[in-house]
């Protein structure tokens, strides 16, 4: 099997004789998808045992932080289930979910995690069979992707951690938080907002915030130079430098001058963030 090879290569924690079983977490909204999962049970539709379900009142509660932190903890896949669009018990909650999942996917991509590990599905309370199909398909997909590298690859862990941090930055949260309303109701001046332009803005912001978060993540472990960061992150040094300048302005990072060497940077520890 493909993932066996993978496991053997990276697997520190995985015993070779124990068949790897994906660990999948599902966040389901109380009103539709959780009810759909219930109906699936009542109807005795079977699905693989890998998924573990967490109930939330609305899929809109599932912040990028919840998802990315759970990925960082080693989840192989995460499913988010909500009501069909326009069916939301809280009216517009799932529209926001949709936008947030787009951000999560962007960040996962930045972190090098296959987007297929995150799935958003609308399951109604009468779609018991659909729920079993979704879980079966998703589990099979994760089987194919193999175990998440987060558990075995420190760089990957750092990247996911950075993605998590990026998702919690004011800029991304504010942008994505407003995204649905901007598109559906226009901006504060009542002007229509161009969806494509907005996507462009969010794309750039996501990349920037991710890179900055990763710089902080890497430079927290040990001081690094711009060049080193550029190499590790595979980002042009001039861009790294721009990030560093901004991070220094915001007192997130400090320059250190080891004698006889190029300047290196170290993340400033903030209270409680050790």
């Amino acid at each position: 099997m493909a993932q066996k090879h993978h496991t053997a290569h990276h697997g520190k924690k995985h015993e070779p004789d124990k068949e790897w079983e994906p660990k999948i977490v599902g966040f389901l909204c109380n009103w539709c998808s959780y009810a759909g999962a219930d109906l699936c049970g009542v109807s005795r539709f079977q699905y693989p045992t890998n998924i573990r379900l967490v109930r939330v009142m609305c899929s809109t509660r599932v912040s990028p932080h919840l998802v990315l932190d759970v990925f960082e903890a080693g989840a192989d896949g995460i499913l988010i289930g909500g009501c069909h669009l326009n069916d939301c018990h809280y009216m517009t909650g799932n529209f926001h979910t949709e936008k947030r999942v787009e951000l999560m996917k962007r960040l996962l991509k930045e972190a090098g995690i296959d987007e297929g590990r995150l799935r958003l599905e609308w399951v109604s309370a009468s779609e018991g069979e659909k729920f079993s199909k979704v879980v079966t398909e998703f589990t099979e997909g994760i089987q194919k992707l193999g175990p998440s590298k987060v558990r075995s690859d420190d760089m990957m862990k750092a990247k996911v951690s950075a993605a998590d941090d990026a998702s919690q930055t004011f800029r991304l949260k504010a942008l994505v938080g407003k995204e649905f309303n901007l598109l559906s109701k226009g901006n504060a001046y009542g002007e229509e907002v161009d969806a494509e332009k907005l996507t462009g803005v969010i794309d750039v912001a996501t990349q920037d915030e991710f890179e900055r978060a990763l710089i902080l993540e890497l430079a927290r472990i040990r001081p690094m130079s711009v060049k080193q960061l550029g190499m590790v992150m595979d980002v042009p040094t001039d861009k790294i430098l721009r990030h560093i300048v901004l991070l220094r302005q915001n007192s997130k990072i400090a320059m250190e001058h080891p004698e006889g060497f190029t300047p290196v940077y170290k993340t400033i520890a903030i209270g409680g963030e050790q």
Binding site: T49, R52, V54, G177
Partner: protein, 625 residues
């Protein structure tokens, strides 16, 4: 603050695992799961029951809480969607706050969906219990908030809907402040000539309602008035009512009903309106009727959907077809001698211009007749029947150009049939081929495309009545902002849910009825009004509102007042306080968590669904055992 609550006092968790007969027990090794549960951190007691929801199972929970001094309870059985309240009540009966209870679903989500994999299902059940325990460790007791309610209401709008709502609440014993911007009650209806489905004049029909409102001591009327400001939330609104020529008045109410009505669209630039004096809107025609100023008529054309269904507005205005039918019947019957000028019937008949049916139309008639025999009266056949049968008894040719006749339900459809019996012609037009109103030698005529004959035709008429749609009040937006309730795309007030909450706003405490919510006939408006009164009476009757403690909580030290949460909350449950910091109106919050997930500063947490609780639960799923 919530982060370290549990450090001080070590949790004492009891875990109850249900066999549900063989429903769980048959596919999951419940004993093994129970044994495993007892090894989990902070679990001081774990047991299994054949039926946890049965009397002895519930007693077992109560006794165990006492015996083992449990401060939180995990029940691992079926779905919380049906059974959570039962176990929560049991916990509370034994002195454990209901928010210290966690439900783990190992039936619908485990034993029933993994019936062929007992070992894996057992492992999953263990994981699910571990997740539940992990969550339980971080639970906190919650108090459900009770908010006092001022048992009085404000009704905005003194038309049929507003009066009906006010009267109903007043009849239940609540003081009502009824605000009407015109100088008298009656709204839209008082300007009508006659009502549908009744032979009474509009004034006669609604006068009893006005009398009742006048006689009801619980109603305070404010005419020539408007709502100036509104502050507060459900149960506690401070309203300032501005009255023309006098000082504004402050009232305190617990609930608000919006019943501000609608107005007819003025069809500027459509169908020769304003270009010819005899092109009038149906509302103007009503006024002419009232004033008895209808000119001599031999032929009248109604044009339906004048401005509606994709012209100036996208929607169908629901009532115009039935108004046209009513008016057409009135004309045909020459009701109240409304056609005083045409009373010399003989003259009318003499001067009648009846088109000779074209030859090809006669050929069609045979086909029509055949079908009529086969299936009874169909729609178009009846129209043609009007063609065949000569002039109506009133001597006036009446034609209704329409797209679809919206004579829904029982009474409207019967009226529609009656109109056809009275030889009112209904001619369908398509939106890409609108009837054209023009003048020839100073005389009005309507050109239209005959769909059956596939040819353009012209009809001379004395008057064209344009059925224009109802549109929202010009000041609806102002009121919507005052009350923080939304307008829909069409400018009407947007109810909380189109199906199940037709007269509620998403924001608790504010309700909506009548045509300000969308076009409706009088019966529907009145029905909605008494529905809105029923909804508004709930908090008023209780004297308080109780909110489930699933709400958001703002950390004032983190909030920077960016306002994103206020924007995304669909319930208006967040507002900025005097310091520019967000605060939660607990009574209005439904606990969806949108604001929490959005807050750019991470300043908002959701009670009972904190990040810590959810992450503990989710991450516990990933532990290697």
């Amino acid at each position: 603050m919530p982060e370290d609550t549990n450090i001080e006092k070590k949790p004492r968790i009891g875990v109850f695992i249900c066999h549900c007969g063989s429903n769980i027990g048959g596919f999951v090794d419940v004993k093994a799961v129970t044994e495993y549960a007892s090894t989990l951190p902070d679990v001081v007691y774990a047991t299994d029951n054949l039926y946890t929801c049965a009397e002895d199972g519930l007693n077992n929970i109560k006794e165990s809480i006492k015996e083992h001094n449990l401060d939180r309870v995990v029940v691992s059985s079926c779905t919380p969607r049906t059974h959570a309240p039962l176990f929560q009540r049991t916990c509370e009966a034994a002195g454990v706050n209901k928010y210290m209870f966690t439900f783990v679903n190992i039936r619908e989500h485990c034993s029933w969906v993994h019936m062929k994999e007992k070992e894996k299902a057992t492992q999953k059940a263990k994981d699910l219990v571990r997740m539940g325990v992990a969550r339980a460790r971080f639970l906190e007791p919650q108090e459900e908030t009770k908010i006092d309610v001022t048992p009085a209401a404000l009704v905005v709008g003194g038309g049929v809907a507003g009066m009906t709502a006010a009267l109903s609440l007043a009849n239940m014993g609540f003081p009502v402040h009824l605000v009407e911007k015109e100088k008298e009650l009656g709204g839209f209806v008082k300007n009508l000539h006659g009502l549908m489905m009744t032979k009474k004049s509009a004034n006669e029909a609604i006068q009893p309602l006005i009398d009742k409102v006048n006689a009801q001591k619980n109603i305070t009327q404010y005419v020539n008035s408007h709502v100036a400001t509104v502050e507060g939330f459900i149960g506690n609104y401070d309203v300032s009512i501005g009255t023309e020529g006098s000082e504004s008045k402050e009232v305190k109410v617990g609930a608000i009903i919006v019943a501000t009505g609608a107005i007819p669209l003025v069809p500027e630039g459509l169908f020769g309106y304003k270009e010819h004096p005899n092109v009038v809107t149906s509302m103007e025609f009503e006024e002419l009727c009232n004033k008895k100023e209808i000119p001599k008529l031999k032929s009248v054309a109604f044009i339906q959907c004048a401005g509606a269904r994709g012209q100036k507005v996208s929607y169908c205005s629901r009532i115009c077809c039935n108004v046209a039918i009513k008016t057409a019947i009135n004309i045909a019957e020459n009701r109240d001698n409304m056609l005083g000028a045409t009373e010399e019937k003989a003259e009318a008949e003499a001067g009648q211009v009846v088109e000779e049916p074209a030859a090809e139309m006669k050929a069609e008639d045979e086909g029509l007749e055949r079908r009529r025999r086969r299936r009874g009266r169909g729609r178009r056949e009846a129209d043609e029947a009007a063609d065949e049968g000569g002039a109506p008894s009133s001597g006036v040719e009446i034609t209704v150009f329409n797209r679809d006749v919206m004579a829904y339900g029982v009474e409207h459809e019967l009226e529609f049939n009656k109109a056809r019996e009275k030889r009112v012609k209904f001619i369908r037009y398509l939106p890409d081929n609108l009837p054209k109103v023009s003048t020839k030698d100073g005389k009005l005529e309507v050109g239209y495309f005959h769909e059956t004959l596939k040819m353009e035709r012209t009809m001379p008429v004395d008057m064209v009545i344009l059925s224009t749609p109802l549109v929202s009040q010009p000041d609806a937006a102002t009121l919507s902002q005052l009350l923080k309730v939304p307008l829909g795309q069409d400018g009407f007030f947007q109810e909380a849910h189109v199906k199940l909450r037709p007269v509620d706003f998403a924001t608790d405490g504010v309700y909506v009825c009548g045509t300000c919510r969308g076009p409706a006939d009088i019966a529907e408006a009145a029905s909605q009004a008494s529905a809105a009164a029923s909804r508004a009476a709930i908090p008023l009757a209780n004297g308080y509102v109780q909110a489930e403690a699933l709400t958001s909580r703002v950390d004032e030290t983190k909030c920077t007042g960016c306002g994103t949460c206020v924007e995304v909350c669909p319930y208006g449950a967040l507002r900025k306080n005097d310091d520019g910091i967000s605060e939660v109106i607990v009574a209005a919050c439904k606990g969806c968590g949108c604001c929490g997930a959005t807050c750019p500063e991470g300043a908002i947490t959701m009670t009972h669904y904190t990040d810590q609780q959810l992450l503990a639960e989710a991450k516990a799923a990933l532990e290697e055992v």
